[in-house]
C-alpha cells in the first residue's frame, strides 16, 4: 500500500477509533469522582428525613438480574400482559418509567413499554390506571381521609426510589452495618452513597446501596447486590431528574374514546360496613386463620417466612409458567433467584426468604 493510498483510508481508521474512544470516555466522565463534604451515616439519614421535595419530573430505569428466565418482550405485541405473567414481567428484565409529582395529590407514573405504555394518574381522590396495549382504563375513587395511605399500595408496577429506600431504612437495626460509601453521581447530581451491609452471612443479600442527593436529600437510586456478585441484582435509579412542578395537564386524565373503562371500588370502611355482618365475620375469621398459619423463623436478613398449606391459589400452583420457573428438589419445587428463594413443598406449604434454598429445605423438614 503506497503512502498516498494510506492517507485515503485514514478517515476509515480514525473515525471508528474516535467513536470507540468516545463511547468509552463518556461513561467514565459521567461516573467521574465526586468529592462531597464527608457525612456520617446518621447525617445522611437525617438529610433523607428532611427532604422536602414534593414536585419533580424524572425518568426512572429499573434493571433486574435476578436469574429468572426472561420473558420475551422484544417485537411488537410479544409479551403476555395478564395476571402472573405481568407481575413476573416487571420482575425480570429492564423497564423505563417516567414519574411526575406535584404534591402528594398529583402523581403520574408511566411504565414505558415497547410500543405500549401503562399509566397511573392520581389527581386528588381520582386514580386512573390505563393500559394502552388493550386500551383499558380503570378508575378508583379514593376515600378522602386515608387517600395518602392507599396511594402507596396502588402504585403497583414500579416503586419509586423513595419508597424502596424508606422500606430499607426502617429495617436498619442491630442486624445491619450502615456506612457511607464513595460519593458518586446519579442523573447528573452528586450523591452520597448509603451502604447497608447485613451482619449475618446467612442471607443472599450482599449490600443495599442507596444514593442520596447531596442537595435535596432525595433518594435517587437503590441498588441491591447479591452476595458475591459484582453487578447489582436489582437497580432502580433516576436517569433524569428535574425539580419543579410539571405541567398541570399531566395530572388530568379522562379515558380516551373507545377504551373499556371499569370502575373499581375500594373496600373502604363505609363499603365494608354495608356488607352484612355474617360476611364480615367470615372474612375476619379467614384473615385470622391465614395470619395464624404464617410463621417467621429468625429475625433480620436471614428470616424465613412460612405460609401454611393451601395459601397458594390452585390456578397459580398448577400454572405451566410455574413449572418453567421452578426446579424440583427433594420435598418440593424451588424458585431460586439471586436475592430471594421460594420453596413450594409437596404438601402445599410455602417457604420464602432471602436465604439459600438449602436453608428453606432444612426449615421445611425441621418445621
Amino acid at each position: 500500500m503506497t503512502p498516498r493510498t494510506f492517507t485515503k483510508w485514514l478517515p476509515a481508521i480514525v473515525i471508528p477509533a474516535v467513536i470507540a474512544v468516545g463511547a468509552l470516555a463518556v461513561p467514565l466522565t459521567a461516573g467521574a469522582a465526586v468529592d462531597l463534604p464527608d457525612k456520617t451515616p446518621e447525617q445522611v439519614l437525617a438529610l433523607v428525613g428532611t427532604s422536602t421535595v414534593d414536585a419533580l419530573s424524572g425518568t426512572i430505569e429499573q434493571t433486574s438480574e435476578l436469574g429468572l428466565p426472561e420473558l420475551p418482550t422484544t417485537g411488537p405485541g410479544a409479551s403476555a400482559n395478564t395476571g402472573a405473567a405481568s407481575a413476573l414481567e416487571l420482575l425480570t428484565g429492564s423497564h423505563t418509567g417516567r414519574v411526575y409529582l406535584n404534591g402528594p395529590d398529583n402523581i403520574r407514573l408511566q411504565v414505558l413499554d415497547n410500543l405500549a405504555e401503562r399509566d397511573l394518574v392520581r389527581n386528588g381522590s381520582d386514580v386512573w390506571l390505563y393500559n394502552s396495549k388493550d386500551n383499558s382504563a380503570a378508575h378508583v375513587t379514593l376515600p378522602a381521609k386515608d387517600a395518602a395511605g392507599e396511594d402507596s399500595a396502588r402504585k403497583g408496577g414500579m416503586a419509586t426510589p423513595e419508597q424502596l429506600a424508606a422500606k430499607f431504612l426502617s429495617a436498619v437495626g442491630p442486624s445491619t452495618t450502615v456506612s457511607v460509601g464513595t460519593d458518586g453521581s446519579v442523573a447528573g447530581r452528586s450523591v452520597y452513597d448509603l451502604v447497608l451491609t447485613p451482619k449475618t452471612t446467612g442471607t443472599l443479600v450482599g449490600t443495599v446501596s442507596i444514593s442520596v442527593d447531596s442537595q435535596t436529600g432525595l433518594p435517587l437510586a437503590v441498588e441491591v447486590t447479591a452476595r458475591g456478585q459484582e453487578k447489582p441484582a436489582f437497580r432502580l435509579a433516576f436517569t433524569e431528574l428535574s425539580l419543579g412542578a410539571p405541567d398541570a395537564s399531566l395530572f388530568t386524565f379522562s379515558p380516551p374514546a373507545g377504551a373499556s373503562v371499569t370502575e373499581q371500588a375500594l373496600p373502604d370502611a363505609a363499603a365494608l360496613g354495608q356488607k352484612n355482618a355474617a360476611d364480615h365475620a367470615t372474612m375476619k375469621a379467614d384473615a385470622e386463620k391465614f395470619f395464624a398459619g404464617v410463621t417467621i423463623s429468625g429475625t433480620g436478613w436471614d428470616a424465613v417466612v412460612e405460609l401454611p398449606a393451601g395459601s397458594v391459589p390452585a390456578e397459580l400452583s398448577s400454572s405451566p409458567l410455574l413449572g418453567e420457573l421452578t426446579t424440583a428438589v427433594s420435598g418440593g419445587r424451588v424458585i431460586s433467584t439471586a436475592l430471594v428463594s421460594v420453596l413450594l413443598t409437596d404438601d402445599g406449604r410455602v417457604f420464602a426468604g432471602s436465604v439459600p434454598s438449602e436453608r428453606l429445605q432444612a426449615a421445611a423438614v425441621g418445621g
Binding site: T59, P76, G77, N114, L115, E117, V121, N135, A257, A259
Partner: protein, 311 residues
C-alpha cells in the same frame, strides 16, 4: 480490484432495459464542472442524480409497493366483520376502526422490519455499483475531485429516497385511513387525547424518525456498493445485513451488542406517541445513525478514491 485487473473496460451507450438511460445532457454537468464554480456543479450533479433516480420505473414500482401496504391493511380491517382484538396483530391495529389516522402508524410498524430496508437496500446498493455496471461511472468522474463529490451526491440521492419511501407509507396510510374510517382526535399511548392537527404533526415526526433510522443502512449500502460492480450483489448484501442486525437484536444473549446495532431503535418511534413526547430514543437513534454514516462514509471514501475505475 487491482491495477493489473485484466478486465476490459466496458463502455456502453445505453443501459439494460428497465433502466432509464441517462440523457446525453446529464453527463454534461460533471463533464463541464471544470469550468464552473464547484457549488453550482454539485447542485447540478445532485439534480441530475435525483432526476435519474425518480424517473426510474424501478423506483416508482417500489414506492407503489410501499403505498400498497397501508391500503391492504386498511381494506383488510374494513372488510372483516369481527372487531380486531386488542393486543393481537401489529400494534395499533385495533385502533384503526376508531381512527383512520392509525393506518399510517400501523403500516409504518409493519414495513420497518422488511419492506423499507428492502427498498432502501435496492437504492443504496445500486448507487455506485449500478453506474459501474452501466459503464457510466467514469464519465461522472471526469471532473477533478469528482469522486468525493459523486459519493456525497450518491448518498444524498439515497437519503432522498429514504424520505420519499417513508412519506409514501405515511401519506398513503393517512389518505386511505381517512377515506375508509372516521378521523378524529387521536389517543396517545399515555391515554391522553390530541387533536387532528397535532396528530398530523406527530405523524410527520414519526416519518422523520423512520427516515433518520434508515440513513445508517443507506451508508452501509453505499459502502458495499463501492466494493463491487454487480449492483444486485450490493443490494442483496445490504438487505441481508439489515435482517441480520434485527435477528441479532432479538437475541438476549447479545445484550451488550444491541445498542450498537443500527436497527436497535427502529421500532422505538412509539416514544413520539407518549405525552409528553419522550425525545430520548429520537436522540439516541440520531446519534447512532450519525455514527454509522461517519464510519461507513469514511470506509466508502477510502474504497472509492483508491479504486481503479475502469468502467
Amino acid at each position: 480490484m487491482s491495477p493489473s485487473d485484466p478486465r476490459e473496460p466496458v463502455v456502453t451507450g445505453t443501459g439494460p432495459t428497465g433502466h432509464a438511460p441517462r440523457e446525453p445532457d446529464q453527463t454534461g454537468p460533471a463533464a463541464t464542472a471544470v469550468s464552473r464554480p464547484r457549488g453550482a456543479s454539485a447542485a447540478a450533479l445532485l439534480g441530475s442524480e435525483l432526476t435519474v433516480l425518480f424517473r426510474r420505473r424501478r423506483t416508482w414500482a417500489m414506492l407503489a409497493a410501499l403505498a400498497a401496504i397501508p391500503v391492504l391493511i386498511a381494506i383488510a380491517v374494513r372488510l372483516t366483520s369481527s372487531p380486531v382484538t386488542p393486543g393481537r396483530g401489529p400494534a395499533f391495529l385495533d385502533r384503526i376502526t376508531q381512527n383512520g389516522l392509525f393506518v399510517a402508524i400501523t403500516a409504518l410498524i409493519v414495513s420497518i422490519p422488511l419492506f423499507l430496508p428492502l427498498t432502501v437496500g435496492v437504492v443504496a446498493g445500486d448507487t455506485v455499483a449500478g453506474e459501474a455496471n452501466l459503464g457510466t461511472l467514469r464519465y461522472l468522474l471526469v471532473a477533478p475531485a469528482g469522486r468525493v463529490r459523486l459519493l456525497l451526491v450518491k448518498y444524498a440521492g439515497a437519503a432522498a429516497f429514504c424520505v420519499a419511501a417513508t412519506l409514501t407509507v405515511a401519506v398513503s396510510g393517512a389518505l386511505i385511513g381517512a377515506a375508509l374510517f372516521p378521523v378524529g382526535p387521536v389517543t396517545l399511548l399515555s391515554g391522553d387525547t390530541i387533536g387532528v392537527g397535532e396528530s398530523v404533526l406527530r405523524s410527520l415526526l414519526i416519518a422523520a424518525y423512520v427516515t433518520v433510522s434508515l440513513l445508517g443502512l443507506s451508508a452501509i449500502g453505499l459502502f458495499i456498493s463501492t466494493l463491487t460492480e454487480v449492483p444486485v450483489g450490493a443490494m442483496a448484501a445490504t438487505i441481508v445485513l439489515s435482517v441480520t442486525a434485527q435477528v441479532l437484536d432479538a437475541l438476549p444473549q447479545l445484550d451488550w451488542l444491541h445498542p450498537w446495532l443500527f436497527s436497535h431503535y427502529w421500532l422505538d418511534f412509539a416514544d413520539l406517541l407518549r405525552q409528553p413526547i419522550d425525545w430520548t430514543s429520537f436522540g439516541a437513534n440520531a446519534l447512532l445513525q450519525g455514527g454509522y454514516i461517519l464510519v461507513f462514509g469514511a470506509l466508502a471514501y477510502g474504497r472509492f478514491v483508491t479504486k481503479d475505475i475502469l468502467s
